[in-house]
Amino acid sequence: MTLYDLLIAPFAELVFMRKALVGTVALSVSSCPIGVFMILRRMSLAGDAMSHAILPGVAGAFLMFGLSILPMTIGGLVAGLAVALLAGLVSRNTIQREDSSLAAFYLISLACGVALISARGSSVDLVHILFGTVLALNNQSLVLITGVSSLTLIVLAGVWRALIAECLDPLFLRSVSNFGPVVHFTFLALVVLNLVAGFNALGTLLSVGLMILPAATARFWTVRVETMCLLASLIGVVSGYVGLVLSYHFNIASSPAIILTTGVVYIASLLFSRRDFPSHVERKFS
């Protein structure tokens, strides 16, 4: 087997592999930087919760309109934003903290989704929605993913300064501008948007992996947020490619192959990144 056969032939010869590659690359470019902000805001697990929260919207649209990309996207978006808003509202107005209210609403939402699918669909549908269909991306989904990706990058560039301020020192931001709540909500909307775009390529479960794992990996190598975002995207893109190649040659499902590749990069970084512990950690234990 030549190197060409190994690395290039799958994409040169098969249209569905090419489309899968374009989809994962486009998704990595936007959802990995989003993931960087998720981990820096200690929201890594909230990403997982949000990915479950979009399920009933996707499932409901799926049952009404079939496997049609636009309704499923809008459904997922509505469900995701509703859960994020309700969780925010409850945590601001009651004694509940954001994590517990988010957990409550996403579990309700997830249960609704599973109930919807089991009432009307077969378990094949559920697997399809949960584990994605990166090898069955059609042109419509590619347009959606690249559109979401472009929009995310534009919005991210626009709110960049405010987003950094909001993570670093939210009270300062609120004291100099009325932009704080807007930034927070814009960011949540981007998270949901990327998860919804990702469910199509990777499934609701694994889209979070592409968001969080490359970002967490990049955190090992750099302390600059800009570099971290670029590095995370790069890791996402390369893992997407390697994962697809592995899935092709070893006949394993493509989505887990991609996420497992990011997982290998994460563990390798954990072991080999030579960065010392940040000094605030040292200070705490000294």
Partner: protein
Amino acid sequence: MAAFALDNLALGYAGHIAVSQLNGTFASGSLTAIVGPNGSGKSTVLKGLAGLLKPISGHIACHDIELHDIAYLPQVGEVDVSFPVTVFDLVSMGMWKKRGLFKPHTAADHDQVLNALVQVGLKDFGASQIASLSGGQLQRALFARLILQDAQAILLDEPFTAIDENTSEGLMALITEWHKQGRTILAVLHDFNFVRRHFPRTLLLAKQPVAWGATADVLSTDNLMEVQRLLEARKSSA
């Protein structure tokens, strides 16, 4: 002239009143310490003045000050020091009033940031991560940010908590300088002797104002005993 006039003001969180019956004014150009026991509403008053909390009742009039001309220094714990930014980037946030969300920082801005770092004694720390700073150094950096904010009114929430005496004195010199420039300054503080030395005026709180005026009059034994009495009355009624 009054910088802030409080009219029967009550402030709190989620409908729960933290401090009430606030009537009076912080004169333009005044330097006031806000003191009182824990939970007496000191920080709440600052947040109200900074526009971070809406009054539950009553209102605040800011006569000759626009909201964006108020600089607010949160308690140290409010800043996420694990977030990866350099000291330079943290300090340059003080350019917000001039540059806002989008406008790029100019070379002159860059010089101003360096200048502010020099003034607080962090000349060589621009490229350091904020996670590597000590508590005192972080507070200096936040003061550098205040310098850049160039605000008419400056609200400081426990600026000297958990920092060494040298740093406190250095930062106090900055505050005194701001006072001379005619800015209105309020600071939440704990150390009564420090307040007596440096602050002409004091507001003593215990969920409501106990005394408000010249520091020597406010920090009298009678007033401090009154605070004690109020605290005990609240404990026994709770």
